[in-house]
Symmetry: C3
Subunit: 291 residues, 3 copies
């Protein structure tokens, strides 16, 4: 079973020898004889469902590995799996059917809803997680943010009093960092997905189903409304508001508020059409002078 989603690969469809292929109706005529077409308006979602049927995620195996440390006063649901060298500190709560990976640190008082998965070497502190939250290996959630006041005698650290709240179905990528709030909380809304090596500053608030691609940096107290999407390596300055379903391009540098639904690219970030007009104009000028 295969699938075709990116039309760039359409020529490969005509040469496929797969037994079945999941395709959009428009592509049906290009499926070769001998291959069974499975037609859907959403081939990628279709592939996700089929692949999950053939390759289900490994089941959670209840129990605590003998090398793990569960501190006194921690609560671990008996249906949860706690891996080798995992650590659950005092006052922490691990919900039903969670899987805590090897070397994961669930800090004092951290609360995990049901069916969470905490990857190898991830660390959580000052955090509250909803249900089905996936934290990938090496992610850092809940440490203090970058915050200090300059004084005559050097920098004075500003205490952090807030938490990190990861709502239901959030995913946090490998080696991503999310700082705890300084006064309020840092919040990632339900269903939002963060890729690897992302930086989320203190007090940032992401709405529902936001998508943040690898190596993005979101500075302190910025707000992203529901369905906002941020391309790889983009940066969002502090204290800004990015409107609902706005789309920020890869490597963009956002320095002011973004209205809902806007598509921005470039650094400083600008409307997509305007940016590419500028790129073209500059090319023309430089060529004319070079002639």
């Amino acid at each position: 079973v295969s699938f075709l989603d990116n039309r760039r690969y359409a020529p490969a469809l005509e040469r496929t020898s797969a037994g079945a292929v999941i395709v959009h109706p428009d592509m049906l005529v290009r499926v070769p004889a001998g291959t069974v077409p499975i037609v859907t308006a959403e081939p990628y979602a279709g592939w996700a469902r089929v692949a999950a049927l053939f390759h289900p995620a490994p089941p959670v195996r209840p129990g605590v590995h003998p090398s793990a440390v569960i501190a006194e006063g921690a609560r671990v649901d008996p249906s949860a799996e706690v891996g080798p060298f995992a650590l659950v500190e005092a006052g922490a709560e691990v919900g039903a059917c969670c899987r805590i990976g090897p070397f994961a640190a669930v800090g004092p008082g951290v609360v995990l809803g049901r069916e969470c998965r905490i990857g190898a070497h991830a660390s959580l502190s000052h955090a509250v997680l909803g249900a089905r939250v996936y934290v990938y290996p090496g992610a850092r959630v809940g440490q203090e943010g970058f915050s200090f006041a300059p004084t005559g005698a050097g920098f004075l650290t500003v205490p952090h009093l807030g938490r990190v709240v990861l709502e239901d179905d959030v995913e946090v990528g490998a080696n991503t960092t999310i700082d705890r709030g300084s006064t309020g909380d840092t919040v990632v809304g339900a269903g939002s997905r963060l890729d690897n090596l992302v930086q989320i500053g203190h007090n940032v608030r992401l709405g529902r189903c936001c998508v943040v691609v690898a190596q993005v940096g979101i500075a302190g107290s910025a707000v992203l409304e529901d369905f906002a999407q941020v391309g790889g390596q983009a940066a969002i300055a502090g204290h800004l508001r990015v409107g609902k379903a706005a789309r920020i391009g890869a490597q963009a540098g956002v320095m002011s508020d973004v209205p809902p639904g806007t598509a921005l690219v470039g650094s400083p970030a600008q409307p997509r059409l305007e940016f590419f007009r500028q790129v073209a104009a500059l090319k023309r000028i430089a060529r004319r002078r070079a002639e």
Copy 2:
């Protein structure tokens, strides 16, 4: 108790119901009746001091967790706290009142001054730390840098012989990486602060009280003089000198030496005023052509 530092939030001041608020003298007239103003020229530093009074950092609890490993020949001050699954290798020294977090690795021969805090999963090797150095979770300090010579038979690795020196009061953010020196040492000067996911190449030397925001990359052998500030995601090429109190903007790309006190933005980096003039000029040209 609340505070107002960023004037963007001044309208909120007039609606506050806080018992007391820390404000700049200019804002005094906007504090509503029923709220006690605490007036200072530095509201943010004032907030830091008040918050620290109400929320003191948890005290260090002397002792070594039974799951920790202290190698033979390591010296751990009896006033230090060594957490679960922490590792202190042979020849290492942990000073008075240090706190070594869970899963932290203090490598062979590493020396920590007094009152250092090493976060969960951080690793230190070939490093010497002064007093009150904070290393956040997952930071990597002292591994070999990116260094090899091309030869006919592939790349030949260049050995690293230097160390990392973190002077007093340095902070190193979560998942930040600092490579050891190849010949001399990599040095971060007293009071400097590095945010999360920063890359510091081998032989880099930072002066005193430098500020390096998240996801910055500083390539090998660059020098930053005292009080230099580097915005998020900026890059500094190798072997450059960034002068005293220079300010490099977010996402800037620095390709040549920077005189003291200069403010640069853009990639390639340019003086701030010049950069924004260029942005404006390009906008005008592109619009004219689009009409």
Copy 3:
């Protein structure tokens, strides 16, 4: 013994008091009396060889630290060194003379060729490593990539079925992340070197002897042919092909295929000469308007 490779430092050569210095023939006349010149066309490679003679890498000490966990069904060659708190899971194979660092996680079924070194806190899953592969501290190899299909009821995760293949002599920098393939494998070709904090998306394929500098992001299914070089913080969009020996500049943003041997800079990336002509043209225009 010292060396001179970067000619920026030539004046220092004339003032050296080193006993011997490795130099290019062109620099011979500038070596002062009292210093023995060692002449080679490749001074940096020469230095690498000399330094390795004086400072050989510490030998591997066969054996398993008592705090390590080797799961039943894992195979560890008796000549390998397994450090404190290391974990080798079921079905994994650790080859001859490997060194597994403290807190390293070798996941179920992962295979390591001979003489690999896995740094502290690194995690490997769904991965096959050749000989002499070095994985630096905190690197994440083999977790699932960033992949989901939007549906009416939120995002649907797409299962990952592939692996990560790191061929002989590959190096993976500290806190770098390499996602496993979704259908095929993610592959890093023999001799390629990745610096710290790099992101390699699922299904990416790097050829032989590629060089990827710190904080680069390579999006899913991109292909880099042999000897491609990517400067720090550059980004390569998904599904692109970067040709043999192409050179991508620091902070570049590559949005289309790159022909072999091309040198690109800028975001969006352009031929080097064209980019700097544009920078110069824009400067002139902005200055003229400012007058």
